[in-house]
Amino acid sequence: MDKIILDHVSYLYNAGTPFEKKALDDVSLSIAANRITGIIGHTGSGKSTMMMLLNGLSTPTSGEVLLDGYDINATFKAVFPEWIKRPEYANMRKSTAKKAIKAEIINRKKTLCFRVGLVMQYPEYQLFEETVYKDIAFGPKNMGLSEEEIKERVHEAIRFSGLDESILQKSPFDLSGGQKRRVAIAGVIAMRPEVLVLDEPAAGLDPRGREQIFQEVRRYQQATGSTVIMVSHSMEDMAEYCQVMIVLSHSRVVAQGSCKDVFSNVSMLEGTGLDIPQITQLTHLLKERGLNIPEDIYTVDRAVELLKDIYQTQKGTT
Protein backbone atom coordinates (compact mmCIF):
# COMPACT_ATOMS: atom_id res chain seq x y z
CA MET A 1 0.00 0.00 0.00
CA ASP A 2 1.20 3.52 -0.76
CA LYS A 3 1.46 5.77 2.26
CA ILE A 4 2.83 8.80 0.48
CA ILE A 5 2.52 9.78 -3.16
CA LEU A 6 4.31 12.63 -4.87
CA ASP A 7 2.42 13.56 -8.00
CA HIS A 8 4.35 15.69 -10.52
CA VAL A 9 6.00 17.69 -7.76
CA SER A 10 8.31 20.56 -8.63
CA TYR A 11 9.98 22.95 -6.23
CA LEU A 12 11.69 26.21 -7.11
CA TYR A 13 13.89 28.29 -4.83
CA ASN A 14 13.69 32.05 -5.49
CA ALA A 15 10.94 31.52 -8.04
CA GLY A 16 10.57 34.44 -10.43
CA THR A 17 13.96 35.99 -9.64
CA PRO A 18 17.24 35.77 -11.58
CA PHE A 19 18.40 33.32 -8.87
CA GLU A 20 15.62 30.83 -9.58
CA LYS A 21 16.79 27.30 -8.97
CA LYS A 22 14.90 24.08 -9.52
CA ALA A 23 15.36 21.76 -6.56
CA LEU A 24 12.77 19.19 -7.67
CA ASP A 25 11.69 18.76 -11.25
CA ASP A 26 8.43 16.94 -11.96
CA VAL A 27 8.97 14.21 -9.40
CA SER A 28 6.38 11.43 -9.21
CA LEU A 29 6.83 8.53 -6.84
CA SER A 30 5.11 6.48 -4.18
CA ILE A 31 6.41 5.39 -0.81
CA ALA A 32 5.19 2.07 0.56
CA ALA A 33 3.68 1.82 4.02
CA ASN A 34 5.36 -0.28 6.72
CA ARG A 35 8.79 -0.20 5.09
CA ILE A 36 12.08 1.59 5.50
CA THR A 37 12.68 3.52 2.30
CA GLY A 38 16.12 4.96 1.63
CA ILE A 39 16.61 8.08 -0.45
CA ILE A 40 20.03 8.41 -2.02
CA GLY A 41 21.42 11.02 -4.34
CA HIS A 42 24.39 13.29 -4.88
CA THR A 43 24.71 16.51 -2.88
CA GLY A 44 22.26 19.03 -4.25
CA SER A 45 20.07 16.40 -5.89
CA GLY A 46 16.98 17.58 -4.03
CA LYS A 47 16.82 15.06 -1.16
CA SER A 48 16.50 17.53 1.70
CA THR A 49 13.99 19.65 -0.22
CA MET A 50 11.90 16.54 -0.76
CA MET A 51 12.03 15.66 2.97
CA MET A 52 10.72 19.10 3.87
CA LEU A 53 7.77 18.73 1.53
CA LEU A 54 6.61 15.56 3.25
CA ASN A 55 5.27 17.23 6.37
CA GLY A 56 4.24 20.50 4.81
CA LEU A 57 7.26 22.47 6.04
CA SER A 58 7.63 23.57 2.43
CA THR A 59 4.88 23.66 -0.17
CA PRO A 60 5.59 22.45 -3.69
CA THR A 61 5.68 25.10 -6.43
CA SER A 62 3.50 22.73 -8.43
CA GLY A 63 2.18 19.19 -8.02
CA GLU A 64 0.69 17.38 -5.04
CA VAL A 65 1.97 15.58 -1.98
CA LEU A 66 -0.57 12.97 -0.91
CA LEU A 67 -0.66 11.34 2.53
CA ASP A 68 -3.10 8.41 2.60
CA GLY A 69 -4.54 9.84 -0.60
CA TYR A 70 -5.11 13.33 0.82
CA ASP A 71 -3.27 16.31 -0.66
CA ILE A 72 -1.57 17.77 2.42
CA ASN A 73 -1.56 21.25 0.88
CA ALA A 74 -5.20 21.10 -0.22
CA THR A 75 -7.08 24.39 -0.18
CA PHE A 76 -10.73 24.82 0.70
CA LYS A 77 -11.51 25.75 -2.88
CA ALA A 78 -9.92 22.58 -4.23
CA VAL A 79 -11.62 20.10 -1.89
CA PHE A 80 -15.00 21.73 -1.41
CA PRO A 81 -16.80 20.38 -4.52
CA GLU A 82 -15.70 16.85 -3.68
CA TRP A 83 -16.20 16.89 0.10
CA ILE A 84 -19.64 18.47 0.04
CA LYS A 85 -20.88 15.23 -1.48
CA ARG A 86 -19.62 13.15 1.46
CA PRO A 87 -22.34 11.75 3.73
CA GLU A 88 -21.06 13.62 6.81
CA TYR A 89 -21.41 16.96 5.04
CA ALA A 90 -24.20 16.23 2.56
CA ASN A 91 -27.00 16.59 5.08
CA MET A 92 -25.77 19.86 6.53
CA ARG A 93 -26.91 23.30 5.49
CA LYS A 94 -24.42 24.66 2.98
CA SER A 95 -23.02 27.38 5.25
CA THR A 96 -22.56 24.93 8.13
CA ALA A 97 -20.89 22.44 5.83
CA LYS A 98 -18.53 25.15 4.58
CA LYS A 99 -17.47 25.95 8.12
CA ALA A 100 -17.06 22.27 8.99
CA ILE A 101 -14.96 21.61 5.92
CA LYS A 102 -12.77 24.62 6.63
CA ALA A 103 -12.31 23.36 10.18
CA GLU A 104 -11.37 19.92 8.96
CA ILE A 105 -8.73 21.30 6.59
CA ILE A 106 -7.21 23.37 9.39
CA ASN A 107 -7.24 20.42 11.72
CA ARG A 108 -5.53 18.19 9.16
CA LYS A 109 -2.83 20.85 8.67
CA LYS A 110 -2.31 21.12 12.40
CA THR A 111 -1.96 17.40 12.98
CA LEU A 112 0.20 16.84 9.92
CA CYS A 113 3.47 17.53 11.74
CA PHE A 114 2.50 14.95 14.37
CA ARG A 115 1.60 12.34 11.79
CA VAL A 116 4.74 12.92 9.73
CA GLY A 117 7.69 13.35 12.10
CA LEU A 118 10.67 15.07 10.53
CA VAL A 119 14.20 14.70 11.91
CA MET A 120 16.37 17.29 10.19
CA GLN A 121 20.13 17.29 9.69
CA TYR A 122 22.04 17.72 12.96
CA PRO A 123 18.84 17.58 15.06
CA GLU A 124 20.84 17.80 18.29
CA TYR A 125 21.20 21.54 17.68
CA GLN A 126 17.47 21.76 18.34
CA LEU A 127 17.62 20.41 21.89
CA PHE A 128 16.72 23.20 24.28
CA GLU A 129 15.07 21.98 27.48
CA GLU A 130 16.58 21.64 30.96
CA THR A 131 16.23 17.89 31.06
CA VAL A 132 16.10 15.11 28.52
CA TYR A 133 12.62 14.22 29.82
CA LYS A 134 11.27 17.69 29.13
CA ASP A 135 12.88 17.79 25.73
CA ILE A 136 11.32 14.52 24.61
CA ALA A 137 8.00 15.57 26.18
CA PHE A 138 7.89 18.78 24.14
CA GLY A 139 6.28 17.17 21.08
CA PRO A 140 3.62 15.13 22.92
CA LYS A 141 2.84 18.18 25.06
CA ASN A 142 2.12 20.21 21.95
CA MET A 143 -0.23 17.47 20.83
CA GLY A 144 -2.28 18.26 23.91
CA LEU A 145 -1.87 14.86 25.55
CA SER A 146 -2.43 14.25 29.26
CA GLU A 147 0.52 14.14 31.69
CA GLU A 148 0.00 10.41 32.06
CA GLU A 149 0.08 9.82 28.33
CA ILE A 150 3.11 12.10 27.90
CA LYS A 151 4.99 10.14 30.52
CA GLU A 152 4.23 6.89 28.76
CA ARG A 153 5.35 8.30 25.42
CA VAL A 154 8.63 9.62 26.82
CA HIS A 155 9.48 6.28 28.39
CA GLU A 156 8.55 4.41 25.26
CA ALA A 157 10.71 6.74 23.13
CA ILE A 158 13.73 6.36 25.39
CA ARG A 159 13.36 2.57 25.19
CA PHE A 160 13.46 2.75 21.39
CA SER A 161 16.57 4.90 21.62
CA GLY A 162 18.36 2.19 23.61
CA LEU A 163 19.50 4.77 26.17
CA ASP A 164 19.20 4.12 29.88
CA GLU A 165 16.17 5.69 31.58
CA SER A 166 18.45 7.43 34.09
CA ILE A 167 19.39 9.81 31.30
CA LEU A 168 15.92 11.40 31.46
CA GLN A 169 16.85 13.60 34.41
CA LYS A 170 20.10 14.83 32.89
CA SER A 171 20.59 18.02 30.93
CA PRO A 172 20.71 17.25 27.22
CA PHE A 173 23.80 19.44 27.00
CA ASP A 174 25.79 17.08 29.20
CA LEU A 175 25.42 14.20 26.76
CA SER A 176 27.83 13.03 24.08
CA GLY A 177 27.16 13.87 20.43
CA GLY A 178 25.74 10.45 19.64
CA GLN A 179 23.49 10.46 22.73
CA LYS A 180 22.19 13.94 21.91
CA ARG A 181 21.30 12.77 18.42
CA ARG A 182 19.41 9.77 19.80
CA VAL A 183 17.53 11.99 22.26
CA ALA A 184 16.60 14.37 19.43
CA ILE A 185 15.21 11.46 17.41
CA ALA A 186 13.38 10.15 20.49
CA GLY A 187 11.69 13.56 20.71
CA VAL A 188 10.14 12.97 17.30
CA ILE A 189 9.39 9.29 17.94
CA ALA A 190 7.49 10.29 21.10
CA MET A 191 4.81 11.76 18.86
CA ARG A 192 4.38 8.26 17.41
CA PRO A 193 4.39 9.52 13.84
CA GLU A 194 2.87 7.25 11.21
CA VAL A 195 5.65 8.43 8.95
CA LEU A 196 9.14 9.05 10.29
CA VAL A 197 11.39 11.08 8.01
CA LEU A 198 15.11 11.34 8.77
CA ASP A 199 17.57 13.50 6.84
CA GLU A 200 21.05 12.05 7.21
CA PRO A 201 20.44 10.82 10.74
CA ALA A 202 23.94 9.38 11.16
CA ALA A 203 26.07 12.16 9.62
CA GLY A 204 29.14 12.91 11.68
CA LEU A 205 28.80 10.00 14.07
CA ASP A 206 31.39 7.32 14.69
CA PRO A 207 30.65 3.74 13.59
CA ARG A 208 29.13 2.67 16.90
CA GLY A 209 27.03 5.81 17.12
CA ARG A 210 25.83 5.26 13.59
CA GLU A 211 24.78 1.69 14.31
CA GLN A 212 22.89 2.81 17.44
CA ILE A 213 20.95 5.44 15.49
CA PHE A 214 19.88 3.00 12.80
CA GLN A 215 18.87 0.40 15.36
CA GLU A 216 16.73 2.99 17.14
CA VAL A 217 14.97 3.68 13.84
CA ARG A 218 14.58 0.00 13.02
CA ARG A 219 13.18 -0.84 16.48
CA TYR A 220 10.60 1.91 16.11
CA GLN A 221 9.65 0.80 12.62
CA GLN A 222 9.28 -2.84 13.57
CA ALA A 223 7.35 -2.19 16.76
CA THR A 224 4.87 0.24 15.23
CA GLY A 225 4.66 -0.76 11.57
CA SER A 226 5.15 2.87 10.63
CA THR A 227 6.59 4.15 7.38
CA VAL A 228 10.19 5.30 7.54
CA ILE A 229 11.96 7.43 4.97
CA MET A 230 15.62 8.21 5.41
CA VAL A 231 18.40 9.93 3.55
CA SER A 232 21.97 8.76 3.81
CA HIS A 233 25.20 8.96 1.84
CA SER A 234 26.43 5.63 3.15
CA MET A 235 25.51 2.92 0.66
CA GLU A 236 26.68 0.33 3.19
CA ASP A 237 24.16 1.57 5.77
CA MET A 238 21.39 1.80 3.19
CA ALA A 239 21.97 -1.77 2.05
CA GLU A 240 21.83 -2.94 5.66
CA TYR A 241 18.70 -1.12 6.83
CA CYS A 242 16.45 -0.24 3.88
CA GLN A 243 13.97 -2.45 2.03
CA VAL A 244 13.26 0.02 -0.75
CA MET A 245 15.45 2.68 -2.31
CA ILE A 246 14.83 5.77 -4.38
CA VAL A 247 17.64 7.44 -6.31
CA LEU A 248 17.51 11.19 -6.99
CA SER A 249 19.79 12.94 -9.43
CA HIS A 250 19.66 16.54 -10.58
CA SER A 251 16.21 17.09 -9.09
CA ARG A 252 14.65 14.01 -10.68
CA VAL A 253 14.00 10.39 -9.71
CA VAL A 254 16.30 8.18 -11.77
CA ALA A 255 15.70 4.80 -10.15
CA GLN A 256 13.64 3.08 -7.48
CA GLY A 257 13.12 -0.44 -6.25
CA SER A 258 14.71 -3.02 -3.97
CA CYS A 259 18.40 -2.84 -3.04
CA LYS A 260 18.97 -5.43 -5.71
CA ASP A 261 17.21 -3.38 -8.39
CA VAL A 262 19.14 -0.26 -7.52
CA PHE A 263 22.59 -1.64 -6.75
CA SER A 264 22.60 -3.87 -9.82
CA ASN A 265 22.85 -0.77 -11.99
CA VAL A 266 26.42 0.20 -11.15
CA SER A 267 27.09 2.53 -14.08
CA MET A 268 23.86 4.47 -13.46
CA LEU A 269 24.78 4.94 -9.79
CA GLU A 270 28.31 6.05 -10.51
CA GLY A 271 27.04 8.45 -13.15
CA THR A 272 24.89 10.14 -10.50
CA GLY A 273 27.58 10.63 -7.87
CA LEU A 274 26.90 7.45 -5.92
CA ASP A 275 28.50 4.07 -5.63
CA ILE A 276 27.72 0.56 -4.43
CA PRO A 277 28.69 -0.88 -1.04
CA GLN A 278 32.37 -1.78 -0.79
CA ILE A 279 31.50 -5.42 -0.16
CA THR A 280 29.57 -5.51 -3.45
CA GLN A 281 32.53 -4.00 -5.27
CA LEU A 282 34.68 -6.77 -3.84
CA THR A 283 32.34 -9.62 -4.77
CA HIS A 284 31.95 -8.20 -8.29
CA LEU A 285 35.73 -8.24 -8.60
CA LEU A 286 35.86 -11.85 -7.37
CA LYS A 287 33.28 -12.85 -9.94
CA GLU A 288 35.19 -11.06 -12.67
CA ARG A 289 38.29 -13.03 -11.73
CA GLY A 290 36.51 -16.34 -12.08
CA LEU A 291 34.93 -17.09 -8.70
CA ASN A 292 31.40 -18.41 -9.04
CA ILE A 293 29.61 -16.00 -6.67
CA PRO A 294 26.22 -14.25 -7.04
CA GLU A 295 26.16 -10.57 -7.96
CA ASP A 296 23.56 -9.46 -5.45
CA ILE A 297 25.62 -9.34 -2.27
CA TYR A 298 25.14 -6.15 -0.27
CA THR A 299 26.14 -7.05 3.28
CA VAL A 300 29.22 -8.57 4.89
CA ASP A 301 27.07 -11.24 6.58
CA ARG A 302 25.84 -12.53 3.26
CA ALA A 303 29.32 -12.46 1.71
CA VAL A 304 30.75 -14.51 4.60
CA GLU A 305 27.95 -17.05 4.25
CA LEU A 306 28.42 -17.52 0.50
CA LEU A 307 32.21 -17.58 0.54
CA LYS A 308 32.08 -20.17 3.31
CA ASP A 309 29.88 -22.40 1.13
CA ILE A 310 32.09 -21.95 -1.90
CA TYR A 311 35.20 -22.73 0.12
CA GLN A 312 33.72 -25.85 1.64
CA THR A 313 32.45 -27.10 -1.71
CA GLN A 314 35.90 -26.63 -3.19
CA LYS A 315 37.50 -28.39 -0.28
CA GLY A 316 35.05 -31.26 -0.57
CA THR A 317 35.38 -31.90 -4.29
CA THR A 318 38.29 -34.03 -5.30
Binding site: H42, T43, S45, E200, G273, Q278, Q281, L282, L291, Q314
Partner: protein
Protein backbone atom coordinates in the same frame (compact mmCIF):
# COMPACT_ATOMS: atom_id res chain seq x y z
CA UNK B 1 66.85 13.83 9.45
CA UNK B 2 64.86 16.96 8.79
CA UNK B 3 62.87 18.57 11.54
CA UNK B 4 59.34 17.12 11.54
CA UNK B 5 56.63 19.48 10.32
CA UNK B 6 54.57 18.76 13.41
CA UNK B 7 56.19 17.68 16.64
CA UNK B 8 54.05 16.93 19.68
CA UNK B 9 55.53 15.72 22.92
CA UNK B 10 53.40 14.77 25.92
CA UNK B 11 50.86 17.18 24.51
CA UNK B 12 47.77 17.73 26.68
CA UNK B 13 44.70 19.93 26.58
CA UNK B 14 42.01 20.36 29.22
CA UNK B 15 38.72 22.17 28.68
CA UNK B 16 38.39 24.39 31.75
CA UNK B 17 35.15 23.90 33.62
CA UNK B 18 33.07 26.98 34.35
CA UNK B 19 30.70 27.68 37.23
CA UNK B 20 31.15 24.50 39.19
CA UNK B 21 31.48 22.05 36.31
CA UNK B 22 34.57 19.87 36.23
CA UNK B 23 37.58 20.35 34.01
CA UNK B 24 37.47 17.96 31.09
CA UNK B 25 40.79 16.57 29.94
CA UNK B 26 40.32 16.08 26.19
CA UNK B 27 43.87 15.30 25.18
CA UNK B 28 46.06 13.65 27.78
CA UNK B 29 49.44 12.66 26.54
CA UNK B 30 50.12 12.69 22.85
CA UNK B 31 53.58 12.25 21.41
CA UNK B 32 53.59 12.31 17.63
CA UNK B 33 55.75 13.47 14.73
CA UNK B 34 54.31 14.25 11.33
CA UNK B 35 56.75 14.86 8.49
CA UNK B 36 56.35 17.47 5.80
CA UNK B 37 54.42 16.02 2.89
CA UNK B 38 52.85 13.19 4.89
CA UNK B 39 49.17 12.22 4.57
CA UNK B 40 47.94 11.17 7.98
CA UNK B 41 44.42 10.03 8.85
CA UNK B 42 43.28 10.42 12.45
CA UNK B 43 40.58 8.05 13.68
CA UNK B 44 38.74 7.92 16.98
CA UNK B 45 35.18 7.78 18.26
CA UNK B 46 33.17 10.92 19.06
CA UNK B 47 34.77 12.54 22.07
CA UNK B 48 38.12 10.75 21.74
CA UNK B 49 40.05 14.01 21.48
CA UNK B 50 40.85 13.96 17.78
CA UNK B 51 39.15 17.29 16.98
CA UNK B 52 40.86 18.87 19.97
CA UNK B 53 44.17 17.73 18.51
CA UNK B 54 43.27 19.37 15.19
CA UNK B 55 42.31 22.64 16.85
CA UNK B 56 45.67 22.83 18.62
CA UNK B 57 47.53 22.72 15.31
CA UNK B 58 46.81 26.32 14.39
CA UNK B 59 46.20 27.61 17.88
CA UNK B 60 42.43 27.75 17.88
CA UNK B 61 43.09 26.13 21.24
CA UNK B 62 46.28 26.64 23.28
CA UNK B 63 48.04 23.56 24.65
CA UNK B 64 47.62 23.09 28.41
CA UNK B 65 50.93 21.30 28.81
CA UNK B 66 53.59 19.47 26.81
CA UNK B 67 55.34 20.59 23.67
CA UNK B 68 53.98 21.38 20.25
CA UNK B 69 55.83 22.83 17.30
CA UNK B 70 54.26 23.29 13.87
CA UNK B 71 56.25 24.51 10.84
CA UNK B 72 58.98 25.75 13.14
CA UNK B 73 56.64 27.76 15.38
CA UNK B 74 56.57 26.97 19.07
CA UNK B 75 52.85 26.87 19.87
CA UNK B 76 53.43 26.66 23.61
CA UNK B 77 55.09 30.05 23.61
CA UNK B 78 52.49 32.26 25.24
CA UNK B 79 54.23 35.38 23.89
CA UNK B 80 53.90 34.43 20.25
CA UNK B 81 53.84 37.59 18.13
CA UNK B 82 50.82 38.57 16.10
CA UNK B 83 52.86 38.19 12.87
CA UNK B 84 53.87 34.67 13.80
CA UNK B 85 50.29 33.72 14.59
CA UNK B 86 49.12 35.01 11.22
CA UNK B 87 51.97 33.19 9.50
CA UNK B 88 51.02 29.98 11.30
CA UNK B 89 47.36 30.22 10.31
CA UNK B 90 48.33 30.96 6.73
CA UNK B 91 50.42 27.83 6.80
CA UNK B 92 47.88 25.50 8.44
CA UNK B 93 44.40 25.68 6.85
CA UNK B 94 41.46 24.03 8.53
CA UNK B 95 38.08 22.82 7.28
CA UNK B 96 35.38 21.77 9.73
CA UNK B 97 32.43 19.41 9.63
CA UNK B 98 29.50 21.79 9.44
CA UNK B 99 29.95 24.15 6.48
CA UNK B 100 27.29 26.56 7.77
CA UNK B 101 29.74 27.63 10.44
CA UNK B 102 32.43 28.70 8.03
CA UNK B 103 30.83 30.43 5.09
CA UNK B 104 30.99 34.23 5.43
CA UNK B 105 30.01 35.89 2.15
CA UNK B 106 26.78 36.13 0.18
CA UNK B 107 28.29 34.98 -3.13
CA UNK B 108 30.32 31.80 -3.55
CA UNK B 109 33.34 33.41 -5.21
CA UNK B 110 33.46 36.17 -2.60
CA UNK B 111 33.49 33.53 0.06
CA UNK B 112 36.43 31.72 -1.52
CA UNK B 113 38.22 35.07 -1.97
CA UNK B 114 37.77 36.03 1.69
CA UNK B 115 40.86 34.22 2.97
CA UNK B 116 43.40 35.17 0.30
CA UNK B 117 42.08 38.74 0.20
CA UNK B 118 42.79 39.05 3.88
CA UNK B 119 46.29 37.79 3.23
CA UNK B 120 46.71 40.75 0.85
CA UNK B 121 46.84 38.73 -2.37
CA UNK B 122 46.62 41.29 -5.21
CA UNK B 123 44.48 41.12 -8.33
CA UNK B 124 44.69 39.43 -10.80
CA UNK B 125 46.34 36.65 -8.76
CA UNK B 126 43.39 36.71 -6.38
CA UNK B 127 40.96 35.96 -9.19
CA UNK B 128 43.19 33.21 -10.49
CA UNK B 129 43.42 31.58 -7.06
CA UNK B 130 39.66 31.68 -6.59
CA UNK B 131 39.01 30.19 -10.00
CA UNK B 132 41.56 27.44 -9.50
CA UNK B 133 40.26 26.58 -6.05
CA UNK B 134 36.67 26.34 -7.29
CA UNK B 135 37.75 24.23 -10.24
CA UNK B 136 39.68 21.93 -7.92
CA UNK B 137 36.55 21.15 -5.89
CA UNK B 138 34.32 21.08 -8.99
CA UNK B 139 32.21 24.10 -8.04
CA UNK B 140 33.14 26.55 -10.84
CA UNK B 141 29.63 26.68 -12.24
CA UNK B 142 28.32 27.86 -8.87
CA UNK B 143 30.76 30.80 -8.56
CA UNK B 144 28.06 33.44 -8.70
CA UNK B 145 25.41 31.73 -6.60
CA UNK B 146 24.42 32.34 -3.01
CA UNK B 147 26.04 29.82 -0.66
CA UNK B 148 22.96 29.40 1.54
CA UNK B 149 21.04 27.96 -1.40
CA UNK B 150 23.59 25.25 -2.00
CA UNK B 151 23.23 21.77 -0.58
CA UNK B 152 25.23 20.68 2.47
CA UNK B 153 27.82 18.90 0.36
CA UNK B 154 28.20 21.75 -2.09
CA UNK B 155 28.73 24.21 0.76
CA UNK B 156 31.42 21.94 2.13
CA UNK B 157 33.26 22.00 -1.18
CA UNK B 158 33.09 25.80 -1.19
CA UNK B 159 34.52 25.84 2.33
CA UNK B 160 37.39 23.62 1.20
CA UNK B 161 37.99 25.87 -1.82
CA UNK B 162 38.21 28.85 0.52
CA UNK B 163 41.07 27.20 2.37
CA UNK B 164 42.82 25.93 -0.77
CA UNK B 165 42.81 29.48 -2.17
CA UNK B 166 45.06 30.48 0.74
CA UNK B 167 47.69 28.00 -0.49
CA UNK B 168 48.37 26.45 2.90
CA UNK B 169 51.35 24.16 3.45
CA UNK B 170 49.24 21.91 5.58
CA UNK B 171 45.55 21.11 5.25
CA UNK B 172 43.59 19.86 8.24
CA UNK B 173 40.21 18.32 7.41
CA UNK B 174 38.17 17.90 10.58
CA UNK B 175 35.44 15.48 9.45
CA UNK B 176 35.10 17.75 6.45
CA UNK B 177 33.69 14.99 4.25
CA UNK B 178 30.81 14.03 6.56
CA UNK B 179 28.20 15.75 4.42
CA UNK B 180 29.44 14.68 1.01
CA UNK B 181 28.05 12.01 -1.30
CA UNK B 182 30.31 9.09 -2.27
CA UNK B 183 31.58 10.63 -5.49
CA UNK B 184 31.95 14.05 -3.88
CA UNK B 185 33.95 12.43 -1.10
CA UNK B 186 36.12 10.63 -3.59
CA UNK B 187 36.66 13.83 -5.60
CA UNK B 188 37.71 15.79 -2.55
CA UNK B 189 40.02 13.01 -1.40
CA UNK B 190 41.54 12.54 -4.84
CA UNK B 191 42.09 16.30 -4.96
CA UNK B 192 43.71 16.32 -1.56
CA UNK B 193 45.80 13.27 -2.44
CA UNK B 194 46.96 15.03 -5.62
CA UNK B 195 47.88 18.22 -3.74
CA UNK B 196 49.72 15.99 -1.31
CA UNK B 197 51.64 14.06 -3.99
CA UNK B 198 52.33 16.86 -6.45
CA UNK B 199 52.72 19.93 -4.27
CA UNK B 200 53.92 18.17 -1.14
CA UNK B 201 51.02 19.53 0.92
CA UNK B 202 50.90 17.94 4.34
CA UNK B 203 47.41 16.54 4.99
CA UNK B 204 45.80 15.64 8.27
CA UNK B 205 42.43 14.05 7.69
CA UNK B 206 40.18 13.44 10.67
CA UNK B 207 37.37 11.12 9.72
CA UNK B 208 34.83 8.50 10.74
CA UNK B 209 34.89 6.83 7.36
CA UNK B 210 37.29 3.95 7.47
CA UNK B 211 37.32 3.73 3.66
CA UNK B 212 38.74 7.24 3.60
CA UNK B 213 41.46 6.47 6.09
CA UNK B 214 42.74 3.93 3.58
CA UNK B 215 43.90 6.86 1.43
CA UNK B 216 46.46 7.90 4.02
CA UNK B 217 50.13 6.96 4.33
CA UNK B 218 49.65 6.48 8.04
CA UNK B 219 46.68 6.13 10.39
CA UNK B 220 46.76 7.40 13.96
CA UNK B 221 44.01 6.10 16.25
CA UNK B 222 43.20 8.29 19.23
CA UNK B 223 41.20 6.97 22.15
CA UNK B 224 40.48 8.65 25.45
CA UNK B 225 42.93 11.46 24.75
CA UNK B 226 45.93 9.28 23.95
CA UNK B 227 47.29 7.47 20.92
CA UNK B 228 45.97 3.91 20.90
CA UNK B 229 47.81 2.71 17.82
CA UNK B 230 49.34 3.90 14.60
CA UNK B 231 50.68 2.40 11.40
CA UNK B 232 49.93 1.92 7.74
CA UNK B 233 46.27 1.31 6.84
CA UNK B 234 47.04 -2.41 6.39
CA UNK B 235 48.61 -2.62 9.83
CA UNK B 236 45.85 -0.73 11.60
CA UNK B 237 42.97 -2.54 9.88
CA UNK B 238 44.46 -5.90 10.78
CA UNK B 239 43.81 -5.06 14.46
CA UNK B 240 40.06 -5.28 14.00
CA UNK B 241 39.11 -6.49 17.48
CA UNK B 242 41.00 -3.70 19.22
CA UNK B 243 39.30 -1.15 16.98
CA UNK B 244 35.85 -2.64 17.66
CA UNK B 245 36.56 -2.42 21.38
CA UNK B 246 36.87 1.37 21.14
CA UNK B 247 33.76 1.82 18.99
CA UNK B 248 35.45 1.82 15.59
CA UNK B 249 35.19 -0.56 12.72
CA UNK B 250 37.27 -1.57 9.73
CA UNK B 251 36.23 -1.22 6.06
CA UNK B 252 33.84 -3.93 4.86
CA UNK B 253 36.55 -5.73 2.88
CA UNK B 254 38.90 -5.95 5.85
CA UNK B 255 35.95 -7.06 7.99
CA UNK B 256 35.21 -9.85 5.51
CA UNK B 257 38.84 -11.06 5.61
CA UNK B 258 38.71 -11.07 9.41
CA UNK B 259 35.46 -13.06 9.53
CA UNK B 260 36.60 -15.57 6.92
CA UNK B 261 39.75 -16.26 8.95
CA UNK B 262 37.62 -16.67 12.04
CA UNK B 263 35.59 -19.48 10.46
CA UNK B 264 38.78 -21.28 9.55
CA UNK B 265 39.55 -20.19 6.01
CA UNK B 266 43.31 -19.64 5.85
CA UNK B 267 44.14 -16.25 4.34
CA UNK B 268 47.60 -14.75 4.11
CA UNK B 269 48.58 -11.32 5.40
CA UNK B 270 48.33 -8.64 2.75
CA UNK B 271 46.92 -5.42 1.45
CA UNK B 272 43.59 -5.57 3.31
CA UNK B 273 42.98 -1.83 3.08
CA UNK B 274 42.14 -2.05 -0.63
CA UNK B 275 39.39 -3.93 -2.44
CA UNK B 276 41.92 -5.20 -4.96
CA UNK B 277 44.17 -6.49 -2.18
CA UNK B 278 41.35 -8.35 -0.43
CA UNK B 279 40.18 -9.96 -3.69
CA UNK B 280 43.76 -11.11 -4.28
CA UNK B 281 43.97 -12.76 -0.83
CA UNK B 282 40.66 -14.58 -1.21
CA UNK B 283 41.39 -15.82 -4.72
CA UNK B 284 44.87 -17.04 -3.76
CA UNK B 285 43.52 -19.05 -0.86
CA UNK B 286 40.55 -20.47 -2.79
CA UNK B 287 42.68 -21.44 -5.78
CA UNK B 288 45.20 -23.16 -3.57
CA UNK B 289 42.42 -25.19 -2.04
CA UNK B 290 41.01 -25.99 -5.49
CA UNK B 291 44.47 -26.97 -6.77
CA UNK B 292 45.22 -29.14 -3.73
CA UNK B 293 42.06 -31.08 -4.37
CA UNK B 294 42.12 -30.96 -8.14
Amino acid sequence: MAEPFIHAENLAFTYKGSGGTDDIPALKNVTLDIQKGEFVAVLGHNGSGKSTFAKLLNLILEPTSGKLTVAGFDLCNKDMSEEDLIALRRCVGMVFQNPDNQLVATIVEDDVAFGPENLGVPMPELRERVENALATVGMSEFAEQEPHHLSGGQKQRVAIAGILAMHPECLVLDEATAMLDPVGRKEVLDTVRRLNREDGMTVIHITHYMNEAAYADRIVVINDGTILMQGTPDEVFSRRDELRAVGLEVPQCAELIHRLRKIGIPLEEGNISSIEGCAELILRSFKKEGAANG
